[in-house]
Symmetry: C2
Subunit: 134 residues, 2 copies
Amino acid sequence: MSGFILHPRLEVDTAFVADWALCRLLAMKDARYPWLVLVPRRSGAVEIFDLDEAGRAVLVEETARASRGLKALSGASKMNVGALGNLVPQLHIHVVARNPGDAAWPGPVWGQGRAQPYADDALAAWTARLREDL
Amino acid sequence: MSGFILHPRLEVDTAFVADWALCRLLAMKDARYPWLVLVPRRSGAVEIFDLDEAGRAVLVEETARASRGLKALSGASKMNVGALGNLVPQLHIHVVARNPGDAAWPGPVWGQGRAQPYADDALAAWTARLREDL
């Protein structure tokens, strides 16, 4: 895992939550949705199949952990999980809590409208809560 | 896996390719993008974490297999993988081959424009090719 550097766009758009066994867990700075991003700390990984089988098994477990935890924490009705990377090639998995009537429902959140920033205090409280509960 | 019934919306929107160990592999009837859908044959599964750990390990392997194979087959520059389910709750994983300049680039494909049907012959040829190559 040496040489891992978070993509500058993710560095700007997210806040650090925790380093799990494989992934760096990040919170998207967008208060419209409870929104996590998992980034495997494997330099050069772009697609899920760039990880080896053992890495993929951890990836899906960490994705399930984030998704189950965020659903419980947020009370959301549906989780959206996506690995797109059309703009940021570094492999990263979005885990987004969705509800009927949210800003993009029933469409996907990506590329829809503008991020709504958290107040600094609210962001710190949110990442602390994620660190504790997930 | 008894009692598995494909959601009627997926039944209409996709064509059968193959049954893998866990998932039914389907081809989306939309010629704008090389587009697969994997549906775990587990009745009642909605979220990835509704599968058990063994099921999730197979799910990520079948997702990687579909994604690697479709990228090679299509020559696409990026694969998009997503489990959304805002409209169709039955757990299903989209695997979509993307290229700069395609109909939705760089945004996500979901909810964008209208599906472009394949001619019947072309759809049969496409699913046969998928069956052989993936």
